[in-house]
């Protein structure tokens, strides 16, 4: 224990840089001087002569006691310390030096003191004062410095490990020296540079100094300390308040909004690249080698120089390019051409197809048929002239020479085909002369079809005749053409041809005459003026065929004709079921015959007119305008399809006509006739009037389209009687269903009470009361209903369980009143309901941040606390700006953190 003490003291002495310990010791010694007094007494003493009194007296006392004590205590510890050989000699040696040093000091001090006591030297007076003051200061300093440590003891300053006592005296006491003053400490520095300055300062301090007040109790001190610290930290934190307030009030907080994420360009990335691995470094060293760079730059410039090309070179290049291009082009053209070439089979098939198409076309169209015939005839003639396929060509000759059997399949077939063709052509020529019955397969086919479809001998005959006639005429026409070149243009050939033509013409004329006479005969039998017109189409045949149908009216005929047309033309699905449909509609129409009747007169009227015209014209009319008078359109823009539809409808309507009673038709017709004549020209008017006339004649049909049932009629008739009563009853029922009326109180006689008593008293009061209250309850609940004050309205109070999920069960948290909540949700927020400028602001989330970006702690900035919340977006921008600067400055996140700690 003692060792440690020693040690510490020794240390304190050794280290001059630590004056505090020594000073403390000084004070200690000062305090402890004097006789041992009980605490109370000592306090009393202090009170009597407070410290303010002055140092002189104190000093005096000190001196007096100090000497005594010094005398008394000197020996013992010295012996103890020396005798106890427990110290390292080395340590001792080490410590000796400072001890000596101090000793010197002390002695000098002592001298001073003694001198002071003895004579009060004038020259040293102020110095002495200085000393005293200095000591005083040291004490004050120590007290201040150790305020934190010693709080329990008032005036006692303890520096030693153990409280001072007779067994454990201070070193000063032991060594017999007085307290150390600053002056003592300063003296050795005399002469060192800066000494005077130091002295001056100390002097200045001593002058100002006030007596040391007693340190406060520890608790109070701590409290004060905390208070000060709190004030400080409060101040520190308060400056953040506006920022925090702003952020709290902001509807949206932006975090690092302007952070530059990633590199914008490849160049930027490349510039940021730093070689890390061995390999990269190696490459970098090669790439960024100065010599290489330089060379590259130079090369670049040199390359530029080399880039200049002479005109000739350029020309050469140009020519070469052109040549290549033309070659390419030629090659391309060739390949195109090759690609276009189709195989033989393809051509054959194509030809076949064409033939087929033309044949079908010829069936349809007389013009085409004529053309086809001409063509074929020409071909035949050509064949006759050239004998191209006879086998006289060079190729066939060669083949024949070599022998057909030797040839491969393809050539054999080709030759066979050629022969066949030749045979065909020549045969046709021969057959031609025989008669006109089957000039070509196609035409005969066509005839067959026609014949079958016609289904009548007469028609067939006439048809045949016509065909024949046509053919002969064709031939006549055709033969006029005389080729001007080739073999045929030779004079003898021409002569021969002409001769033959003449013969043929003669024959044809004869034939024509014959046909005419035959057809005349046919027509006579028919009794129609059909023969006069001989159009080259197949339509005439149909007409003729229809003749045998019962001639009810012109209209039906036209109708049929349209239909038959459709059969042979595009097969319209609608037409297929037409007959059936007609029947159906007829059934439907049974109720409103009148309506059809309205159409009839017009038809009949027209019909009569039409009879006067020639049949042919009539047909033409119908074909051009299938919609008869009744369906005149007012529509200006109705499309063609529309028209057609109407035509179809009309046809349907017309079919019904025969079922109607004739008398009414006639009547109507009579009525209509004059009106009709008047406004034939204006369609709409005539129609309106016409319909008007008929509809007014029978208004009942048009007013209702379906007859209401008997019950309905009755209900309608009596509906208006007591509608209100009914409704009231209904309402009452609904009310009763929800809150049933309380049952009337009834009492079983003989139960609960004596019967005679019952009779007298009536029902017991509690029963009545119960009934009354139930009634009242019901009324109250009824009054609460929404329709309580509405006589003619029933609002269902039924709860819709499915719709319940659309409501909130309770008010959401921050809201306390229902009204405020409901008003706050009144505005829709979607882009459909808000202008584009507002949608973003309305739907912005509370926090805006970029994913993957570290959110840095908040940074202090000056904010005007009275700034309105309105400028939230602006503040956001501000923050952005700040962030930008931050990002520019680099990593300052940690810095901010430390700042926050402060």
């Amino acid at each position: 224990m003692a060792e440690t003490k020693r040690k510490s003291r020794g240390e304190a002495k050794g280290k001059r840089g630590k004056p505090s310990k020594k000073q403390k010791k000084g004070t200690d010694t000062r305090e402890r001087k004097g006789p041992r007094l009980p605490n109370a007494l000592r306090k009393e003493l202090e009170r009597l002569n407070p410290v303010d009194e002055g140092f002189g007296s104190d000093e005096d006392q000190e001196e007096v006691y100090g000497r005594d004590l010094y005398e008394y205590e000197e020996e013992l510890p010295e012996e103890e310390s020396k005798k106890n050989r427990r110290y390292d000699p080395v340590e001792n040696l080490e410590y000796q030096m400072p001890e000596e040093f101090e000793d010197e000091n002390v002695s000098s001090d002592d001298d001073n003191d003694t001198r002071n006591a003895g004579e009060d030297g004038v020259e040293d007076e102020d110095e002495d004062e200085e000393d005293d003051d200095g000591r005083q200061r040291t004490t004050r300093i120590t007290s201040e410095a150790f305020e934190g440590k010693k709080k329990k003891k008032n005036n006692v300053v303890i520096s030693e490990a153990y409280p001072e006592s007779e067994y454990n005296p201070t070193r000063d006491m032991l060594e017999g020296e007085g307290p150390v003053s600053i002056g003592d400490l300063l003296d050795p520095l005399h002469g060192v540079s800066g000494y005077s300055k130091l002295r001056k300062r100390i002097h200045h301090l001593e002058k100002k100094s006030v007596p040391t007040p007693a340190p406060l109790p520890k608790a109070d001190q701590e409290k004060l300390e905390r208070k000060a610290a709190y004030e400080k930290s409060k101040e520190e934190l308060q400056k953040w308040e506006p920022i925090i307030k702003r952020n709290r009030e902001a509807p949206t907080i932006y975090f690092d909004d302007d952070m530059d994420l990633g590199f914008s360009t490849v160049g930027a990335i490349a510039s940021e690249f730093e070689p890390r691995t061995e390999f990269e470094k190696k490459i970098a060293s090669l790439v960024y080698d100065d010599q290489v760079m330089e060379a590259h730059q130079k090369d670049g410039s040199r390359l530029l120089e080399l880039n200049k090309v002479s005109a000739e070179d350029e020309k050469d290049r140009h020519n070469r390019m052109a040549k290549m291009r033309s070659l390419l082009f030629r090659h391309e053209m060739k390949s195109k051409h090759i690609k276009k070439i189709k195989s033989k089979t393809y051509h054959r098939l194509l030809k076949k197809d064409r033939l087929k198409a033309s044949s079908t076309q010829s069936q349809m169209d007389p013009e085409a048929a004529k053309e086809l015939a001409m063509k074929q005839e020409y071909e035949r003639a050509k064949e006759r002239m050239t004998l191209r396929h006879k086998g006289s060509s060079k190729w066939t000759k060669r083949i024949k020479e070599r022998g057909i059997d030797v040839q491969d399949e393809g050539t054999r077939t080709a030759i066979a085909e050629q022969q066949h063709l030749h045979a065909l052509l020549t045969r046709k020529m021969n057959s031609m002369k025989d008669g006109s019955s089957s000039s070509s397969d196609d035409s005969s086919d066509e005839d067959d079809v026609d014949v079958y479809s016609a289904g009548s001998d007469q028609a067939r005959a006439s048809k045949l005749l016509e065909k024949a006639k046509e053919k002969t005429l064709n031939l006549l026409d055709e033969d006029d053409e005389v080729p001007n070149s080739g073999v045929l243009s030779l004079p003898f050939m021409v002569r021969g041809l002409r001769k033959r033509n003449e013969a043929a013409a003669e024959e044809a004329k004869l034939a024509l005459h014959e046909y005419e006479s035959w057809s005349n005969q046919l027509e006579d039998s028919n009794g129609a003026d059909n023969a006069k017109v001989a159009p080259p189409s197949g339509r005439m045949v149909f007409n003729a065929s229809k003749k045998e149908a019962p001639e009810s009216s012109n209209k039906t005929k036209s109708d049929n004709k349209i239909r038959s047309d459709n059969y042979y033309g595009n097969s319209d699905s609608e037409d297929d079921f037409e007959p059936k449909e007609n029947v159906d509609i007829r059934e439907d129409r049974s109720s409103d015959l009148q309506n059809d009747g309205s159409i009839n007169p017009v038809l009949l009227h027209k019909e009569s007119k039409n009879h006067k015209d020639s049949l042919f014209k009539n047909f033409d009319d119908i074909v051009q305008d299938p919609g008869p008078k009744t369906t005149h359109e007012v529509s200006i823009f109705a499309s063609g399809t529309w028209k057609k539809m109407k035509g179809g409808n009309n046809a349907d309507a017309n079919v019904n006509k025969p079922t109607q009673p004739l008398e009414s038709v006639v009547l109507n017709q009579n009525l209509q006739e004059p009106v009709k004549d008047l406004d034939e020209d204006s369609d709409a008017d005539s129609e309106g009037q016409m319909v008007d006339g008929i509809l007014t004649s029978d208004p009942k049909v048009e007013s209702s389209y379906e007859l209401p049932s008997q019950a309905e009629i009755i209900r309608q008739a009596f509906a208006a009687d007591d509608v209100e009563d009914d409704f009231e009853k209904e309402k009452q029922e609904v009310l009763n269903e929800e809150n049933p009326e309380p049952e009337k109180p009834v009492l079983l006689p003989g139960w609960g009470q004596w019967t005679h008593v019952q009779k007298k008293k009536g029902l017991p009061s509690w029963m009545l009361q119960e009934h009354e209250s139930a009634k009242r309850m019901r009324e109250e609940t009824l009054k609460k209903r929404k329709d309580a004050h509405l006589k003619r309205v029933i609002i269902s109070e039924k709860l819709d369980k499915k719709a319940e999920k659309l409501y909130t069960k309770s008010l959401p948290y921050p809201f306390t009143s229902k009204e405020v909540y409901e008003q706050s949700i009144r505005m829709p927020l979607g882009p459909e309901f808000n202008p584009a400028t507002a949608v973003g602001a309305l739907n912005r989330p509370e926090v805006m941040k970029k994913p993957g970006v570290i959110i840095k702690p908040i940074e202090f900035e000056e904010v005007n606390p009275y700034e309105r919340i309105e400028e939230q977006t602006q503040s956001g921008k501000k923050q952005k700006k700040r962030n930008k600067s931050k990002s520019n400055s680099g990593k300052n996140g940690t810095k901010v953190k430390t700042k926050l700690k402060n």
């Binding site: 009030e249 439907d588 009744t630 369906t631 359109e633 007012v634 529509s635 200006i636 823009f637 109705a638 499309s639 409808n649 009309n650 709409a684 008007d692 048009e702 309905e712 209900r715 309608q716 509906a719 509608v723 209100e724 409704f727 209904e730 929404k786 329709d787 509405l790 003619r792 309205v793 029933i794 609002i795 269902s796 039924k798 819709d800 499915k802 719709a803 319940e804 659309l806 409501y807 909130t808 069960k809 009143s817 229902k818 405020v820 409901e822 008003q823 706050s824 949700i825 505005m827 829709p828 459909e832 808000n834 202008p835 400028t837 507002a838 949608v839 602001a841 309305l842 919340i869 939230q872």
Partner: protein
């Protein structure tokens, strides 16, 4: 332009005030109600949040109002008479002389005398029209280029046609069942469950096809999934007056007893029944904003009803019959009887309708249906001899919103919109009289059965209350501790009794119900001994 006006350098102050007033009205419309009242709020944070929100709402409304005021391409108009002229004396011919070629083109008559009176329906954009002839003629027309898209003849009675969500599909109520066809006339579905339907309506936002059949059954069918959403017996007899309220999707039926009932698919009883007329109801129509209903009765009266503020008396009673009624987008009301068409207009803006235009088609033509074409000043009239189209200035909305309905829609846009509308399809339970109530706090039930926990909590509370009472200090002999404890126990038991009794009663009821069920399934006595014995209860 706006900036200049703000400065006031161009316009005189009076003009400016007028504009600002007008803008204020529009802003009010876009604010959709009162601003939140922040006065009474205690919570400062909430107050701040709501204030910010309100400000945003205000800005949004302002922007919308300005856009509506200045940016809309065309402005609506109407006929204005000068001097002794009367608007209803102006004939279609005189209108035709004044209007542009394109408008004049929409005056026409299509005469189709054979297939009966025609009923019409337009798509929401007004581009396509479906026409259904009574005798089986169905046609779809493109109204823009006046071409027939497709027509078919079904050869049976067609009572009603209605387009589904776009022009690709339409439903026709035929003799026995309603059918759904596509644009090409292919029959897609036969809705046999509906029966002989008299009237069809399509709820666009909910994708429901509503029908009323001959026996007075109202059905809702989901056309996306095909499920039958609801099937209710109205119990009010046969009716062919049915109209859907475009605002909330509620279907209204007019009955022969003069009542109008309103229905939604999730409630088996009518939401609302109101006695409107003394005679049977012949026609009905809803204003597009859903707040006004017009009904016509057989007793020669047309009545206008306010649907928000229910009252016994109508807003207005007009004399006259109507076989068919229709409101235009701008709120004109067309009514028609036999061959006479009248258009009424709310000229003062106070829901006081008076005569605006009249039109007579050829006498004897029986009007089946009048229908305003959306986004055009055109009224389609389906009658017994085809259909006609006349010009009614000021009937259609002059500006279309291509997000809502685009008359110039391309097929791509149509597809896009179809998908969007399917995604935005509303469930059937969102149909209610006041759809703005969705999302609000659930209305208090009048009487709710308490749960078991609640009952127990009630009982405990009652017991606690009783326990707290200090018993009286009785005379010497009666104040023994044993007696006091006894008394305490008694008090507690008394407090519990009513609850326990109630519980017992309920249990008994449940048991009785159970017993009933059991009795029904009970075996004959002879076989009972073989039945497995139940575990002891």
């Amino acid at each position: 332009m706006g900036v200049k006006q703000d400065d006031g350098s161009i316009m005189p102050t009076s003009e400016q005030e007028k504009i600002s007033d007008e803008l204020d009205i529009r802003v009010k419309k876009f604010l959709r109600g009162e601003k939140t009242n922040l006065e009474g709020l205690q919570d400062k944070k909430l107050k701040g949040q709501l204030a910010v929100r309100e400000e945003l709402f205000g800005k949004s409304a302002q922007a919308a109002a300005k856009a509506e005021k200045w940016l809309l391409p065309s402005e609506g108009g109407y006929l204005e008479a000068e001097g002794i002229e009367k608007t209803w004396r102006i004939k279609q011919e005189s209108i035709a002389r004044e209007v542009d070629i394109l408008s004049a083109r929409s005056q026409y008559d299509i005469v189709l005398p054979d297939l009966g009176p025609y009923t019409l329906d337009f798509t929401s954009s007004g581009r396509y029209m479906a026409a259904g002839g009574r005798k089986g003629h169905l046609a779809i027309l493109d109204m823009k280029n006046m071409s027939l898209v497709k027509e078919i003849q079904v050869r049976e009675t067609v009572r009603d046609v209605v387009f589904l969500h776009n022009e690709l599909f339409f439903a026709a109520a035929q003799k026995k069942y309603p059918y759904i066809y596509n644009r090409d006339g292919t029959e897609l579905h036969c809705l046999k469950e509906h029966g002989a339907v008299l009237r069809l309506q399509f709820l666009k936002n909910h994708f429901l096809l509503a029908s009323i059949n001959k026996s007075g059954q109202l059905r809702y069918q989901d056309v996306t999934m095909g499920g039958m959403v609801a099937n209710y017996r109205t119990g009010l007899g046969r009716t062919d007056v049915m109209q859907v309220n475009p605002y909330n999707g509620v279907v209204a039926l007019g009955h022969s007893l003069g009542t109008v009932s309103m229905w939604k698919p999730t409630s088996s009883t009518a939401l609302l029944k109101r006695l409107c007329h003394k005679g049977p109801i012949t026609a009905m129509a809803f204003h597009p904003n859903g707040h006004l209903m017009a009904t016509a009765g057989k007793e020669k009266k047309i009545m206008l009803w306010d649907l928000r503020n229910l009252k016994d008396e109508p807003l207005q009673t007009l004399p006259g019959n109507a076989d068919t009624l229709d409101f235009s987008q701008k709120g004109l009301l067309a009514r028609s009887t036999s061959s006479f068409v009248q258009i009424l207009r709310d000229s003062s803006g106070t829901q006081n309708y008076n005569n605006y235009m009249t039109h007579k088609i050829i006498k004897g033509y029986q009007v089946e249906k009048v229908l305003f074409r959306p986004y055009e000043d055109v009224l389609g009239i389906g009658h017994s001899m085809g259909w006609s189209s006349i010009l009614i200035p000021g009937s259609g909305e002059p500006n279309f919103d291509s997000w809502v309905a685009n008359p110039f829609e391309t097929s791509k846009q149509r597809r896009e919109r179809e998908v969007h509308s399917l995604l935005d399809k509303l469930p059937p339970e969102t149909i209610m009289l006041n759809p703005t109530k969705i999302g609000t706090v659930k209305p208090q039930r009048r009487k709710e059965k308490k749960t078991k926990e609640e009952k127990e909590a009630d009982m405990e509370a009652a017991v606690e209350a009783v326990k707290g009472i200090e018993p009286k200090k009785k005379t010497k002999g009666r104040n023994k501790p044993s007696k006091r404890t006894k008394k305490k126990q008694e008090i507690v038991a008394n407090a519990k009794r009513p609850f326990l009794e109630q519980q017992k009663k309920e249990e008994e009821q449940v048991a009785r119900k159970k017993q009933k069920v059991i009795e029904q399934v009970e075996l004959p006595t002879s076989l009972q001994r073989f039945s497995r014995k139940k575990s002891a209860t």
